[in-house]
Symmetry: C2
Subunit: 242 residues, 2 copies
DNA sequence: GAGTGGTCTAGACCACCCT
DNA sequence: GGGTGGTCTAGACCACTCA
């Protein structure tokens, strides 16, 4: 006799997590907004409140939800200070963190170069939005960013719309496009500044710079952003906790 | 009337977590060993099994315990592949990760320099164990480490004992001294190699190097290690996930 | 005071691992 | 078969927030 294909089991709370994730992805509750209470969700999905709680705990640990006692559970927003520095790890060596100002250099739609295609799993014909900018902390240009954005989400994002509020790119991606940046993988190395890079960062060619290469992925592991950041680290450092 | 000082409340499961932590710190169960079952711990502490479970979940999330279904809960060991790369984030750009070999350059007990004193919250008279070494990946010297170790834990650690098995420092710290390295804070920057550094890493002076400064802390946030690693990143990169 | 999340319990059943 | 952790439930009480 042929053995029947083994059914795929999955814990209930994982299925509830998926269900909430889909609702989140569908935009059922806005970023920063309140989701239904545990008891409401339990009724909606036909499970006990404790099971919903477990699912919400997981999503909270993943950084998608925030719970506030006495108030409710909120969809996380990239505007919050809590998330403000998740994707910007460069801190001044001394003194409080300063919000950088963005100076746009390029912003246009291009066909993706080969290495960008590879990083973002694109077809040869796909176009991406390319942005080059300098982040200025106080008086000093500190970061030179090359950014490539893939996917349908960025079809509606035109150079014009970016021009005037580019200092808070992530915040805008979210509010304008509903995109969720969930996970990022970074590769960090030290490189010498080229003449062009040195010019944009007001340093001498050959000076050491921190190169941060990042691929950001969204809901189901789909890559949507490749970013190469070159950082002056004379008065700033990249902070990390293990 | 004087209002009485408000009592400090703490959830039961947090107290149980502390209790388990103290047993761990006292060495009641060896690294890699099995701790008592949930029901046993529940009896011992006089709480329900679910409360013990919550405490163990927290400690598992903190990376101190590992649970294996059907077998039990284990004290984590730094030997495990799971923890092998927690403190060594440098990976080759291509190909599988290679276990580096350590070449000792200096190893002696010294009075801590001022900056090391600050980082490790030491008194002026305290001595520290100072180690300088080069980590060689395959054929290439890739990392130049300066390491300062503070505290009673390292009194028994002599240069002689380090000389021959220094390639797996952390593993040895633990097995030999029972020290637990729990948390680390890193500051990363790009610097130019000095002549001396260049000589040790077989590169040209002035070449860019990745400087990773790390302070490692143990059980109650007490700093025990300061490390400055200089890394060639021509064929390797520092990997990070956000 | 009503509603929310936070904690705690007791008990049930499952899947996994060993012997 | 007996022990372990993994999941799920139902119900209780607490602390916080807001009207």
């Amino acid at each position: 006799m042929n053995a029947p294909a083994p059914p795929r089991f999955q814990p209930l709370y994982q299925q509830i997590r998926e269900a909430i994730l889909h609702a989140l992805q569908a935009g059922e509750w806005p970023p920063g907004g309140l989701i239904p209470s545990e008891t409401e969700l339990a009724q909606r999905f036909g499970v006990s409140q404790g099971t919903v709680r477990k699912a919400v705990e997981v999503l909270t640990a993943e950084g998608l939800l925030v719970r506030r006692q006495g108030k409710g559970t909120y969809v996380v927003s990239h505007d919050e200070s809590q998330a403000q520095f998740r994707f910007l790890r460069l801190r001044p060596d001394e003194g409080p963190a300063v919000q950088p100002v963005s100076r746009m250099i390029h912003c246009r739609r291009v066909r993706a170069p080969a290495d960008v295609q590879r990083a973002l799993s694109l077809q040869g014909s796909d176009t991406v939005l390319y942005i080059q900018r300098v982040l200025v902390f106080g008086e000093d240009p500190v970061i030179l960013d090359d950014i490539w954005l893939a996917g349908e989400e960025f079809r509606r994002l035109t150079p014009q719309r970016l021009a005037h509020q580019s200092s808070r790119l992530y915040s805008m991606f979210e509010t304008e496009l509903g995109t969720k940046m969930l996970h990022a993988r970074e590769r960090i190395r030290a490189v010498a500044a080229t003449a062009e890079q040195a010019g944009l960062l007001a340093i001498e060619p050959g000076q050491p710079l921190l190169l941060v290469e990042r691929v950001t992925t969204t809901f189901h592991g789909r890559p949507v952003e490749l970013r190469r950041g070159l950082c002056r680290t004379t008065h700033h450092h990249y902070a990390n906790e293990l």
